[in-house]
């Protein structure tokens, strides 16, 4: 009966509007203003009215079209099922695109810079995917390892004049060492305790970096970090006497783009290395043990697998890739400060892994592109950018709680009849 349906919808909408009114009045309706006599207040009831109106009619419309009480997102289209092999084709095409991208005529400096940022997050996502996606260990302080890598490179390069290529592995190993030191005492804890301890650890690193001025430069950070060179040939208009620069080496016109494009390929290679490593590890005993541990730790113990070692290896390897990415970040920016390593970074990286679909390498790429590009596209609305970002995170989770790519490829197959 249409009458009752409309009445119900009206009731639903009324309730929603009432809640919206209660939500809106205190924070939207009044705005605190700072005056000379302390705080003043300003009213904005027109905004409240707009908001409540939108909620009322929105809910009314939804209730009418979808029937009442339906989940708001239950009716969104499901992801289409792709035939097997699509993933591989898409991955191949994406890789080609990634390789060709900076050479395309449309690619300007801004685009390549953004692409570098996306790739850094893809790499971080892949690194954290080992810990969270495969081993199922909830790490909320991944940014700590990123910071360790960045500071290791910056300090070694500045104080000991070591080259990027030497520092890169050191930064990775150092981050892995941190992972082990942290992991050893805490990996025995159950999931959520681990989450809070890693979160705390991330904050501790940041606080130490912020306050230990002699060591890390405190809030001012470290600046003029050496930029990478092309295996000994610097990217500069003029090399030092007797030194060949990159453009001289190849007989090119000097262009500042060279370095950016080089950085792009560098992070692409680093990220692909992470990916190759992870895919390879998945097919090895340790990788299978990671996944088994995520599925059932007790069964693992009954099968003679040492859970601590397996967890520690996941933690250390994930940390190592975070360290690599950190070293790259430092050399790319030329400047680092604790501000770049706040909790929100950890949250974004974790969101990339979970939104992508835990354990899915392709999902990480899609989610990283989305989470980095969307705020970038919303630049003009910078005020609302983070608000929309938070909202988008919630909406995607509601839409696809298992992540964008939920498919899992087996690590071994039994061929029939062989």
């Amino acid at each position: 009966m249409d009458g009752t349906k409309a009445a119900n919808a009206l009731k639903e909408a009324g309730l929603a509007a009432l809640v919206a009114l209660l939500l809106a009045v205190p924070l939207i309706g009044f705005r605190l203003t700072e005056g000379l006599q302390g705080l003043g207040i300003e009213t904005r009831f027109d905004w409240v009215a707009w908001g409540v109106g939108v909620v009322f009619f929105g809910r009314f419309g939804l209730a009418l079209t979808r029937g009442s009480r339906g989940d708001l997102l239950g009716h969104l289209p499901a992801m289409p099922k792709f035939p097997t092999g699509t993933g591989r084709t898409v991955a191949g095409l994406l890789l080609l695109l990634a390789i060709a991208m900076p050479l395309l005529p449309v690619a300007d400096r801004y685009m390549v810079e953004i692409a570098i940022t996306v790739l850094i997050y893809v790499m971080l996502g892949w690194g954290l995917n080992i810990v969270v996606g495969l081993a199922g260990l909830l790490d909320l302080g991944y940014v700590a390892f990123y910071a360790v890598g960045a500071y290791t490179y910056a300090l070694l390069a500045i104080n000991f004049d070591m080259s990027f290529w030497l520092c890169l592995p050191i930064a990775g190993l150092f981050a892995a060492l941190f992972g082990i030191i942290l992991g050893f005492p805490v990996l025995r804890l159950r999931g959520d305790y681990l989450a809070i301890v890693t979160l705390g650890f991330g904050e501790m690193i940041r606080i130490v970096l912020l306050n230990w001025k002699e060591f890390s430069g405190g809030p001012n950070g470290i600046s003029s970090i050496p930029r990478p060179d092309f295996f000994g040939f610097p990217f500069a208009r003029e090399g030092e006497p007797g030194q060949t620069t990159f453009h001289q080496l190849f007989g090119l016109e000097f262009s500042p783009m060279h370095r950016i494009i080089f950085l792009y390929y560098l992070i692409l290679v680093l990220a692909l290395l992470t990916n190759w490593f992870t895919l390879r590890m998945r097919r090895l005993p340790v990788g299978r043990a990671w996944e088994a541990l995520r599925e059932d730790e007790i069964a693992c113990r009954a099968l003679g697998i040492n859970p601590t070692n397996v967890k520690l290896s996941a933690f250390a390897l994930g940390a190592m890739f975070g360290g690599f990415a950190g070293a790259f970040f430092a050399t790319r920016q030329g400047f680092i400060s604790p501000e770049s390593f706040s909790f929100i970074e950890s949250a974004v990286i974790l969101a990339i892994v979970v939104l992508g679909g835990m354990g899915s390498q392709m999902g990480v790429v899609i989610a990283a592109a989305f989470l980095i590009l969307v705020p970038e596209l919303l630049r003009d609305f910078s005020q609302y950018r983070m608000v929309l970002f938070g909202m988008a995170m919630v909406l995607i989770m509601l839409w696809r709680p298992q992540g964008l790519v939920a498919h899992r490829a087996p690590s071994a197959r039994l061929e029939a009849g062989a």
Binding site: L284, P285, E291, D296, A302, L303
Partner: protein, 267 residues
Amino acid sequence: MSLLTVEHLTIRFGGLVAVDDVSFAAADRKITAIIGPNGAGKTTVFNCLTGFYKPDVGRMMLSKDGQEWLLERMEGFRISQQAGVARTFQNIRLFPKMTVLENLLVAQHNVLQAASGFSIAGLLGLNSYRTAERAAIELARHWLDRVGMVHLANDEAGSLPYGAQRRLEIARAMCTGPRLLCLDEPAAGLNPAESAALAALVRRIRDEDGVAILLIEHDMSVVMEISDRIVVLDHGRKIAEGTPDQVRDDPEVIRAYLGAAEDEVAS
């Protein structure tokens, strides 16, 4: 010669004595069943043997070929790794999102891990590791064949029917290459045909693979049919021990079971 000797095993949870001074032995290449009403402490004994609980008092010794392992002194995962005690769980614990084959490969983790040179040889794709992996897959295929599941090898373990999951768990335990296999209610939830097949499977493991089996089971037809020896627990105490025929006629055992039955009716 007994493979496993348990002496004066006692476990308390707070004030409750879950297992009270239980001693028994399990012979090599024999099936020893532990039976008793619900709450008798059977699974607790298993959890002790496999290192999930530490006993308050008692000794659990596994000995074979001149080697000895004191289980109560070993860390949980080493009991399977070194002493070779494998187990299944009352409420199946597979790795549900992994395939059947992967489940069996995880069970061979320690062998493969050594062959992969702690992943380095494996990462480089060295031949030695490839050979080891092929051998592991062969062993998995062998056990899949034994439990009649070769055609399911690439399916997700969590999507299998219940009976197949039970069999897979046994196959997985066997892939660790155990000396002693502990089965915790393997026939629970199976239909009579499946139970019979299970009994045959367990018997073949004893006869062909030379593995001792410790069995917790409520299905008396299975227990009486395949057990070589039976230990009866009630309220954490051992009340009887002997061959199936001896236990069947033991007045103490009958009282425990009938008493339990009355309790169940009353509640």
